[in-house]
Amino acid sequence: MKCKVCRDRAVIDIRRHNAGFCKDHFLEHLTGQVAKTIKEFSMFESDDRLLVAVSGGKDSLALWDILLNLGYDATGFYLDLGIGAYSRASKDASVSFAEQRSAKLIVRSLAQEHGLTVPELSKLTGRVPCSGCGLNKRYEFNRAALEEGFDVLVTGHNLDDEVATLFGNVLHWNVDMLGRQAPVLEERALEESGTALVRKVKPLVRVAERETAAYALLRGIDYIVEECPLVEGNVQHRYKEAITLLEEASPGTKHQMYFGFLKKASHRFQQEPDGAEVVACSTCGAPTAVWDPARAAVCSFCKTKALALKRKSEGSVARPPRKRRTH
């Protein structure tokens, strides 16, 4: 196979674009795809301060690399989830990338910030690890961005992630989630508590997972290939496998499903949940939706944390995680 641009030997074929690329032209192509996405969705401007959530995996490190190459002011944020050797390896990968690129990386740990790791949280609350993990990540990313004065929180969600999420939301007709699934989530500021949900963007939505892996490998980025040991039974992963079979048979399926949704369907789901009002959490001040204004509003992060810490101090644990899968 030959490179579409220079006719040299291709190192990757992107079947949905009907094109092969040599190394240099692939890196250029992918960078162009990200730049195009940033522009198309007006994600941020050149003078914005970006906080990039990095996990040590291919997507977030490739994204950070591309943003730095495009000249953006992009700081990394690594959250140590306390998942044993996996967390240590992913932190090392993030730290060494930052050193190589002389980029700034903020490191925080759940154990230090809240006295809880992801495995502990799962054991204490009886919820599957990914559910508590996702809640903590969303909360901590937002808090770090606010406290450190960033304009935008950038995450490495790629096309496969978005399609798998969309697929799951449709399978379960999760209409609230469908209304919130977008490449850009606008900032929501709360004047009374001075806090906000920062603006969140996903510049990799046009890029397939296979392409971010190829980018990282060809750029010599030493990302962690191993999976989180807690991922087993994760339904998102099974959706991806099913969708990959469809993509293999008809290239372009993923792109069509996601961008078709954005263009033709997502606006139909965009409305506030019935009767909900966004107020400040009475514990931490973070914006949270309430349905009954007479009750004290506590955000789900603070609720989960309080429950887990209470059980930890009592030395009790919940029943083993339910078999129900959460995503």
Partner: protein
């Protein structure tokens, strides 16, 4: 040839020469779900692979809420 598979890490022997497409078919792997790596570079489906090659087949799909 030696073919390294990941998650969990293991190595299998496959006899060559053949090409990437046929190799993946023999291993029962969907090409869209992996990268095929030789000498730190990538191979497209139509590339030939040889008896004394060392190949890595690296999965690209990751799971988990992010």
């Amino acid at each position: 040839m030696k073919v390294k598979l990941r998650n969990p890490d293991r190595t299998v022997e496959v006899s060559g020469p053949t090409n990437v497409r046929a190799l993946l078919e023999e291993l029962g792997i969907v090409p869209e779900a992996v990268l095929v790596i030789r000498d730190a570079t990538l191979l497209t489906r139509d590339e030939d692979v040889f008896e004394d090659d060392e190949i890595e087949v690296r999965p690209v799909l990751s799971g988990g809420a992010r």
